[in-house]
Amino acid sequence: VSTPLLLANIGKPDSTSLASYRGSGGYEGLAHALKMQPAEVIEEVKNSGLRGRGGAGFPTGMKWGFVPKESPKQRYFICNADESEPGTFKDRLIMERDPHLMLEGLITGSYAIGASHAFIYVRGEFPQAHRALAQAIEEARREKLLGRKILGGDYDLEVHLYKGAGAYICGEETALMESIEGKRGHPRLKPPFPAVEGLFGCPTNINNVETLANVPLIFSHGHAWYAAIGRDKNTGPKLYCLSGHLKRPGVVEEPLGVKLHELIYEHGGGLWRKGAKLKAVVPGGSSVPILRAEESDILMDFDSVAKAGSLLGSAGVIVMDDTTCIVNALLNVLKFYAHESCGQCTPCREGCHWLVKIVRRIEDGKGTRADIDLIDNVAGNIMGKTICPLGDAVAMPAQSYVRKFRAEFEEHVKRGSCPLPGAA
């Protein structure tokens, strides 16, 4: 077990206060960054190797570098705090318990790309996170960490706190921008990419809460120190969300590249039922391909999980023991995406509901063998054929659950009923 870096302040009783955050060395990194040129700040983040923690793992410094330096337009910085991927609850912890950590990252990033306005888009279902952030922004403004002439220098930044209203799709970056603009959350066709034409048609950078929470570490300790944590091309500390059939579910901090089995059996305390066996693990939130128990002895970093045929995604680790009906678990996941599909692209809008109907038929014992192949077929016709990745997010579980647990789907068809009724 490593020393917490992202969760260093969170354990303290008044962790949300500026005084507590400063007591843990908070805002020292920002002071360093503001003494550097914006281009040097971007270079430092590039050299740290930090990759985005929202799911895609894209290099953060490179992303900041995409925002044009010479533009007559306003530039915007957005923090994506619309955490909604099933199995994920790390960003809420940071916002509720250590809001200054992400705020410091937000100010640093805004300075780097030359934004004078930043938006934090908080999920509507997180009122406590919203309150903690509102208070942190107010405190930061009073202490000259926000507003005009930050820390006595010549950089100005205004932060707008924005509340979502219940739409998973708004976690997609361009849907989120549409939402801030006061519209339905329909993802935009890319290009143009947000770095060139984002919020209000202006150059925009957008990062996840946990990504921004990593930024202060880079500037208080230097890129070399940061890059020494984790593994090659997968640097830094990471928050893992443990849920499902575990004795001790919760948020765990370990470097990128920790063993999945260490998360499950040590941090998570192992399976919660006596004598139960591990059946399956979803390593990165409900949208990523599922792993069978025998495939789950892997390292948890972007490249290792991809090599194992899944994705690190949001690091939402959902653990299922052998009392779980995989067909019913898939039905649950599909219902989620069918509910959250924005309706813009036909393959996703129609396909999600078809998949729900087919899998429900199998779970109810009324499916045929042809239905099992039909799942794969319909999912294949959604994958890669939509404007945004929600289509892939429904296709990946659909295809992987069927391919990896085909015998269980066949058993439902053969018996004409669910062998594990009432489970999951």
Partner: protein, 164 residues
């Protein structure tokens, strides 16, 4: 119509944000927090404020699940129903609440006190099964012994008692 206080807050948002329409979601939240839902006259009023058509307000209102177009109960109970909560017995929680309240998903009790709803993942999977009441989390609302399968709803019943 919204109170002068809410109108002032909406005017301030319109002034502060780069475009008037960007005040749409915050304004709808303000109106709903005051009235409990967003009635038709307020929708038309807001469209005028933001310089958009009433259809543009309607489009937003019907897209986001947290916005309410009709009045609902004083307490809206959202039972999280997505996979991590399902693995920890959310269907039993939902079934028990349905029995206690005598309403199905989307229904409001006759006294107007409770509305029962299902929610998609609420992002508190380590505390499963969870219920949200008017935006506040209530964690592990079912005490469940995984070995014997015995479940107790004492926490859930206490919560309901407190709200009655």
């Amino acid at each position: 119509m919204p109170s002068p206080k809410v109108e002032r807050e909406i005017d301030a948002l319109v002034k502060r944000l780069p475009r008037p329409q960007a005040a749409m979601l915050p304004a709808l939240h303000l109106i709903q927090d005051e009235i409990g839902h967003v009635p038709v006259p307020e929708r038309v009023w807001l469209a005028g404020k933001l310089g958009v058509s009433p259809a543009a307000v309607e489009a937003v209102l019907s897209f986001y699940t947290l916005f309410r177009r009709q009045p609902e109960g004083k307490y809206v109970l959202y039972v999280c129903s997505t996979l991590p909560c399902a693995l920890k017995g959310c269907e039993q929680v939902f079934g028990h609440l349905r029995k206690l309240l005598g309403v199905d998903a989307g229904g409001t009790t006759a006294d107007g006190r409770f509305t029962l709803k299902r929610a998609e993942c609420l992002g508190a999977c380590d505390e499963a099964p969870v219920v949200q009441v008017n935006g506040e989390f209530h964690n592990r609302v079912m005490d469940w012994d995984p070995d014997s399968g015995r479940a107790s709803f004492a926490t859930l019943e206490r919560l309901l008692e407190d709200l009655r």
